[in-house]
Symmetry: C2
Subunit: 200 residues, 2 copies
């Protein structure tokens, strides 16, 4: 059985937005098995000595990022990019909800809809009413999914993915893993797919 | 007349190596005017509060970079990548020599040969004997070029490019400018070319 391509992302990460909207379809077109892996960048940044996203301490890099994301959304035909009012947004609840939905047939639709609510509609993806709206839009009942997101098992799952990311060498987001091979950045999705296809 | 694509790079930057070996041929194939713009990352990093390259304070990111460069050199058919013994290498003298050669028909050959000496042969690109070897290999007389590199005009040119880079929003390397539009990273060379071709 072929090694799956794993997409490791944080819902607060703007470049993860662009990657998340592209990755599942690209893997499908390449015939590659695929899994979502939500994690939290906060502890990953803290372990590197950062109190916040490095974009917040590098104004030129942050200004570039917003402009770059506008261009990338045009390039890939995604909804128009809108920088969030607060950056980075909190993403613990939405990350847990992503974990709760893993394996569900609408998981990918949820990931894409939550990201789009955040980075195109300008909503706070960590607010329960926003998430209830996203779930409702997908025909999923909000209350039980939000309850599951706060269960000890799901909370532990998000912590466990975050720990695993750190142990596997993650320093930012998004990341593509094919076995132990890490490919960083949504720009390199095609490289990760080529790598996966070249594996025996 | 079409706006040229400007390649802004530091000879100490490993991703600039990959970009430098690709960019002139890619612009040529696209029919785009092209210019080299050597600058120094040191002052750019200092202005952002970094005492050294951010790769040196993020071990996971640095480990990833070395592996990524191995893969990129394979992908683009470049000489095998070799991480330098010291990172970042000093690059003031080689940067000045790059400035001295701007407009010379062998400028591009010099840039590529100096980068290859550094990142494939493992040489220190800031040592005058190494640079003399690179110049000799291109049929250029070493002594007068090394002398020109240390002239007040050429020193001022490198400082001026570095100042200009900071003013235009540069935060790392390599960078592609098309007019005021900045495209960061060698991975995005094709995007910069597409942008340049779409300009009136």
């Amino acid at each position: 059985m072929q090694t799956p391509l794993e997409f490791w992302f944080d819902f607060a990460s703007p470049y993860s937005y662009v990657g998340a909207l592209r990755v599942e379809a690209a893997c499908g077109a390449a015939g590659l098995p695929f899994v979502w892996r939500p994690f939290l960048l906060g502890p990953i940044f803290q372990a590197q000595g950062f109190a916040t996203s490095p974009f917040n301490t590098q104004p030129a890099r942050k200004a570039y990022m917003w402009r770059d994301l506008e261009r990338l959304c045009v390039k890939y035909g995604l909804p128009a990019f809108k920088a969030p009012a607060v950056f980075p947004q909190r993403s613990v609840l939405v990350g847990r909800l992503g974990c709760a939905l893993l394996g569900h047939p609408r998981c990918g639709d949820f990931v894409r809809a939550a990201f789009t609510a955040e980075f195109s509609a300008g909503l706070d993806p960590n607010e329960a009413p926003v998430l209830a709206g996203v779930l409702g839009q997908l025909g999923l009942e909000a209350a039980p999914w939000l309850e599951k997101a706060e269960s000890p098992e799901v909370k532990a799952q998000l912590r466990s993915f975050t720990d695993e990311a750190g142990k596997r060498g993650v320093f930012g987001a998004p990341n593509l893993f094919v076995g132990d091979e890490l490919v960083f950045g949504q720009d390199r999705l095609e490289d990760a797919i080529a790598w996966a296809r070249a594996q025996p």
